[in-house]
Amino acid sequence: MSNILVIAEHHAGSLKKGTLAAATLAKQLADKVGGGFDFAVIGGGVDGVVSELQGYGAGSIYVVDGPAFADYLAQPHTKALVAIAEQSGASYLVSTAGTTGKDLMPRVAAAIGAGMVADCVGLAEGDELLFKRPMYAGNVIAAVRCKTDKTVVSVRTSEFDTVEKTGGESAVVAVAAEPGEVGARFVKFDATESERPELTEAEVIVTGGRGLKDGPTFWNMMNPLADALGAAIGATRAVVDSWEEVPNDMQIGQTGKVVAPKLYIAVAVSGAIQHLAGMKNSKTIVAINKDADAPIFQVSDYGLVADAFKVLPELTEKVKAARG
């Protein structure tokens, strides 16, 4: 029996990579407090997700599978996770800090009387178990202590590598759970129509800021560059707030998505603190801005002081050529 439970995040029958980053935090936790980790999977028809989780060194994979859990809703999923946690005897419940984890885990914490650490970015050094988490739009990193017997943690997955396969088979354990009283029903899900990778999983991200004039211009400028790089497109908060053509789920920053791709290209982005909090862990950062004093240059590896409208078409062409 393991003491740490990692809740799998999945969508449309496949596992989200962030789950394996959350498992890395679970392993670090196990190094500190002893024990090991299990996975938990909740949904309707999740055999595929369960098999994707095999080979990562989990003791067991606990599964609640049934039509009542097919669509994510906070109340039934809380009941399911509480049932799994009881059966597994876990002291630590770990999820990603994606929108599902953010929605679900506080409810679970309240249900089991646990404290919750949101958006964990790592464990503090030293003997005592302290969790590090950002506050004030990433301007402050707090070390927090959870004082309850059980601890709920959501993990900022961009801060962790994914766990490697170690081989071996985890036992699959079916758990019986009742959805309980549910005061909500699922109506529909409109997926963001995009041929591009999802922002939180993309290796290359190009982000446009307010300097791109308006919504249509934003797309005209960003699409060709993203095509050339096979990149996802992000936007600043100012952009999604002002231009209807740019949906909010493209927002990168403390109040939007937190990303850490291999290459991040910020175009006409000034670099407000809250935006930097969402991207400053990217491996290589490129900034293009005509204002040489823009704060984005303080975090960029390569800065080009130039008018985006003038250099972006050239950059797009030369990236294409360089990638052959």
Partner: protein
């Protein structure tokens, strides 16, 4: 209908955050406070619902009397009255805040909806609405970008901003909804409304009134530090130089 709106003040989100010398706290000397932006979205949503459904909008905050300025700003936007739960030195975590709000909900009769911001931009916890919903046994719809209440005021259809798209769910009322930024643009208070707000009622309760004895925190901040600074890199002169460096130096192309 009656709508409760959690309304928190935070350090001006555009201000530079500084730590005290010993790193134990954020330096609050000569900082300005403003309403948490997401709370303003929640209030605006409540006011819009009230315009359509004849609802009373009640603000709730937790803090000392220095939070009343923020409450007055919310009253000037159009809330009918406010409740301040007096806690002077008591430290809060998300859990205690949620238990206090749950107690206020129970104290007020016939609440149909509890609206909150999805997170406060100081602690950035994004927990209170969800905790509150569980403590009250109510359905929740978090990260709302659109809210529609049916004619009888019995069900809310909520579009949620989730990873990879927009999800729509319907929740029975009473329920808990947390606001995301795109939900609306909060209105500015007009001068006559600011004057009127001075006469609106702010009821003050304390934890005894709400019969909250357990003020033990579940999660405690031990210390704060500034995040590691990223080293600024070099400026390049041309697109050619940039592409060359990305290909040969950073090896990311």
């Amino acid at each position: 209908m009656k709508i409760l709106v959690a309304f928190k003040r935070v350090i001006d989100p555009d201000a530079r955050i500084k730590l005290t010398a010993d790193g134990s706290a954020v330096n609050t000397e000569s900082v300005e406070y403003k309403a948490n932006p997401f709370c303003e979205n929640a209030l605006e949503a409540a006011l819009q619902i009230a315009e359509e459904h004849d609802a009373e909008v009640v603000l709730v905050t937790i803090g000392g009397d220095d939070t009343e300025q923020t409450l007055r700003a919310g009253l000037a936007m159009g809330a009918a009255r406010a409740i301040r739960v007096e806690v002077e030195d008591q430290q809060l975590d998300s859990d205690l805040a949620a238990r206090i709000l749950a107690a206020v909900y129970k104290e007020e009769d016939d609440v149909d909806l509890f609206l909150l911001g999805k997170q406060a931009v100081d602690g950035d916890n994004n927990q209170v609405g969800q905790l509150l919903a569980e403590y009250l046994g109510l359905p929740q719809a978090c990260f709302a970008s659109e809210i529609e209440i049916d004619e009888d005021g019995e069900e809310a259809t909520v579009t949620r901003e989730v990873d990879g798209g927009l999800e729509t769910i319907a929740i029975q009322l009473p329920g808990v909804i947390t606001a995301d930024l795109r939900l609306n643009t909060p209105r500015y208070a007009k001068l006559p409304d600011i004057m009127k707000a001075r006469r609106k009622t702010i009821d003050v309760m304390d934890l005894d009134d709400l019969e909250i004895e357990d003020t033990e925190l579940k999660v405690e901040v031990v210390r704060l530090e500034e995040p590691p600074k990223r080293q600024a890199g070099a400026l390049v002169e041309s697109v050619d130089e940039l592409v060359g460096k990305l290909k040969n130096e950073a090896r990311v192309l």
